[in-house]
Symmetry: C2
Subunit: 127 residues, 2 copies
DNA sequence: GCATTATTTGCGTGATTGGTTAATTAGTCA
DNA sequence: TGACTAATTAACCAATCACGCAAATAATGC
């Protein structure tokens, strides 16, 4: 992967900014696709949404999104594999928290795209 | 739907993030998931990448990404359904172009997330 | 109309995925 | 150690998906 723009300073923070998807190898492209795939499931989006306010354990998340603990655990495992959430066992429970806030920026960006798209024809469904 | 935030800079990418994913109905959440699903396939990402430089017809895209025209046509149909590309027939050919440049901001943002993740452990695969 | 080229669509197939249930593992406390 | 709770994993099923192939559709020129 070529870092176009490379490292730059944004508001005093050194960031690896403006990486482009161009000229990626097939393996890297698959990584990007897999990242999007992790976000392509309503239940996983709901879980990420629930973690906005802070950490939660598996049982809490299962109750809040009306899923079985087994199901939630698997979703969390997948999210963890892609670095979206961080795992921390405390006692018999396992707490999960967001690993990178930029996920919300991504989701909100997509929300905006969809909303703008619907504003040209019909209102955004379920607003 | 509440408009909040407006333009913001996320890791060097200017984004119109007016909308938040919070408090979405299940149907709206499914829309967001479907949008991500459209981006969760390497071939579709490759097609979007090829359209960076301008419009292309189905045959050209098929040749450039080593896929069958039928396959490419199907991918384009799906991308079109989600408002990612725009269709325009000219002669017997059908040309597609990017409908919204913000897709690239999304993809590049994800590239950055993955690259940062790998920098902590191993180099990004396929650099 | 007929032939040609480009695109789309119908259908079958193998692979992947989300969900459920049950078994297993991990941690705590008596 | 044994009982108990929470989380993970395995096995399985149903649904979805990407792809290949072939048929159908659309647009152009003879």
């Amino acid at each position: 992967m070529r870092a176009r723009g490379g490292w730059r300073i944004i508001r005093g923070v050194q960031c690896l900014a403006v990486i482009s998807m161009e000229n990626l190898t097939p393996e890297a492209m698959e990584q990007v696709a897999a990242y999007f795939r992790a976000l392509s499931e309503p239940t996983r989006l709901a879980i990420l949404n629930l973690l906005r306010e802070g950490e939660r354990n598996v049982g809490e998340l299962a109750q809040l999104c009306s899923c079985s603990p087994a199901n939630v655990s698997r979703h969390l495992s997948l999210l963890s594999q892609h670095g979206l959430v961080r795992r921390e066992g405390r006692g018999t429970a396992v707490y999960y928290r967001i690993a990178d806030d930029s996920v919300y920026a991504l989701c909100d960006l997509v929300c905006g795209n969809i909303a703008r798209r619907y504003q040209r024809s019909q209102p955004f469904p379920g607003v």
